[in-house]
Symmetry: C2
Subunit: 468 residues, 2 copies
Amino acid sequence: MTDIHAQLAKAVGDTNLFAGDAIEDRYRTDLSGILRAEPGFVVRPRTVQEVAAILRAANAEGIAVTTQGGRTGTVKGAVPDKGAIVLSLERMSAIEELDPLSMTITVEAGATLQAVHEAAEAAGFLLPLDLGSRGSATVGGVISTNAGGLRAVRWGVARDMVLGLEAVLADGRIVTGLKKTLKDNAGYDWKHLMIGSEGTLGVVTRATLRLRPIPRTTMTALIATDGFDKVVALLRDLDIDLGGQLSSFEVMWQDFYQMITEANRAKRAPPMPASYPFYVLIEAMGGDPVGDPARFEAALAAAIERGQASDVVIAQSGRERDALWAVREDLMEPMRKLWPMFAFDVSVALGDMAATAERAITAIRGEYPNALILTYGHAGDGNLHFVVGVGDGSPAAEHRVDLAVYSAVAQAGGSISAEHGVGLTKRDYLGFSRTPDEIALMRILKAALDPGNILNPGKILPPSSSLQ
Amino acid sequence: MTDIHAQLAKAVGDTNLFAGDAIEDRYRTDLSGILRAEPGFVVRPRTVQEVAAILRAANAEGIAVTTQGGRTGTVKGAVPDKGAIVLSLERMSAIEELDPLSMTITVEAGATLQAVHEAAEAAGFLLPLDLGSRGSATVGGVISTNAGGLRAVRWGVARDMVLGLEAVLADGRIVTGLKKTLKDNAGYDWKHLMIGSEGTLGVVTRATLRLRPIPRTTMTALIATDGFDKVVALLRDLDIDLGGQLSSFEVMWQDFYQMITEANRAKRAPPMPASYPFYVLIEAMGGDPVGDPARFEAALAAAIERGQASDVVIAQSGRERDALWAVREDLMEPMRKLWPMFAFDVSVALGDMAATAERAITAIRGEYPNALILTYGHAGDGNLHFVVGVGDGSPAAEHRVDLAVYSAVAQAGGSISAEHGVGLTKRDYLGFSRTPDEIALMRILKAALDPGNILNPGKILPPSSSLQ
């Protein structure tokens, strides 16, 4: 028994410490499915004090710690290094308090997004953060990657919903700031440094999240449009016409729409022909069951009038709404065709979306003329997703496609990661969307908070010896 | 001529360097009006490169630098130390670019909020950040204090509108991250560390801000209510009923309403009697000129029905709207009665507002039975303002009132500063709303980014030798 083994056993007890063959496979990877290396230990603390004891021991011994939530990330941010300690928060999943007057919920970091949704909804509240992987993604995970999702156009991303945070620093210091206040300017707002830092600056253990009252109405429509300039104008005009109700604005390129509706044709008929260059799925949520649907229809009629919409289907029931969302979300089966595939999550200014997409697609086709490319995204947030299949899953092919996409993003001054994080997958491209001085500042912060470099080392920041 | 004088002259030119008697009085203080000490120099750079040269020189010589915007802060955050360099950004006030497609505006930090409003409005856009001091407050200032203002309930605070930032670090390094993207998770989001740090971590020189389309309708009403529990319920229910349109929700205690309307009676008749315990000024903004006013009225009728509103006045014209806002904003004359007065800007969870206010008021009256106390705030954000006159402006009296208010805030787990910052005025009370570990983490960040402690030293963080 090594010294660190004994210390970890003391911290969490023998029944929650695993090593060697006793480590289950799920701790070795994330949604990318790539096994990286053999972790030395898996620990499953139950309390923040246990997390602190684990980090104190790891810091003293200089052993890397990779924190895991639901392991539904896609950029290998939660994939451990060889010999590292995997710190799984799965046992810290309590919904601690829902405060209906203050409209907040305080939860442990290992709670799944879905568990928080259910607790909120039972009390009449909405946590607007929603993603496809809600059943496995944890609060700690969505905070560590600053996840965005389907309603960011109205309610923002994870960062915008975190009122209070508790985190453990590399040296085991527990920093607790579990405020329920919407405004707090009493000194540096350190929680924003933890949010989105992918477990490299601290371990998030608990959060207080802002809730909203559940809206009374939900209106959903699919809109076909014949140019991306019209998509941008449609967003601006619907934002005005719907007066604060627009909650989703998802764009799909023709290739995407065609492939998804074709592949799912046995399950459901396509809601409209695949003959249009762009499709937009919108949702609005309001408070007036009598007036809202009429206003929604009027806003869409006005969009047709202005030539921004060529075809419109409005969901008339919950079932029809699900069918429209399925066009955007029922991707698993259709995407098999593209396997082995490379997935991208980039963002650019709204005005640059069309040109950036075109430039990226042209560059990919320059390398691989027969590439299958699905383009879609949360257009309301300038967030583009590309899924690319070139019939070759090799690192060399991935690098060629990466360069094509990230060069287009860099040219528009965009971000290589809108909502998935950097992890290992995008690390070497950080310089495509951050200036050298920004990266230098990130290194200063990392060195200040984790001088021993034990927290998820090698994620986000390329090794210092590299060019960036 | 000292060495630093020569270096500063080289950086900005003789015509923008002032020392000794040549320093105008306005550079010595802020809105608190308290002269602190004699600065050594005032420099007025025109470019970010000049700012960098100033900081390099100051850092090399170990001379303090206090950055100034409009000097409309209230916590002495922009008041220089004796011998310090005042870095005034008044000449860096350009509106550089308004991008209508991306709905962003990029400006230099010295631009006033009003100048940005005017540029945005001329292009059909709204910058939702609005404060009484809009004519003097600068973009750099509102970012450095993370200002909130009158519409935070819908659009958030300054932090929520900053998409991109440029700042100069203590050593003169220029960090540029002027993104126009709404989502960016490519590494640590360092801009959030600068936002709200009151010039102690870097000098903000340029920002890209998110704009919104100008809403088509504005509806304003004053509501009287007979208990604070009803104020909280009213907020929640109006938030639902108005389905995303609620943009202001300002509460006034009876004392406040009575004093302001009495003192301004010669200018305008009070909109309703002063006999109610609480008054709420609400505003909603929407996109439907036909349907919005009716829906607004229906929501208020429902509030009366539920017993949440005892009396309601709806503005029927722009003039009536201004008159309702004057009840909340025309404070200068009435407040003279309280002089010398102490002003507070605290926040607590919505559910704790009434009890916290009552506890603070009781504690102040325990010390000063005849104290005049005005209580009001941005209730939609949990943000309370107290203005207290006890007929004694001495530091000892201020300290007694401070303790009364901040103890009540601490008991509710609130913040001693919602939107004004900490500066010098609240520095010694930081421990009332931050844990020792939070303050220790702030010190780590300050030491990492400003190892020579030249950036606005002594602001926010108490000297290390103090107990906190």
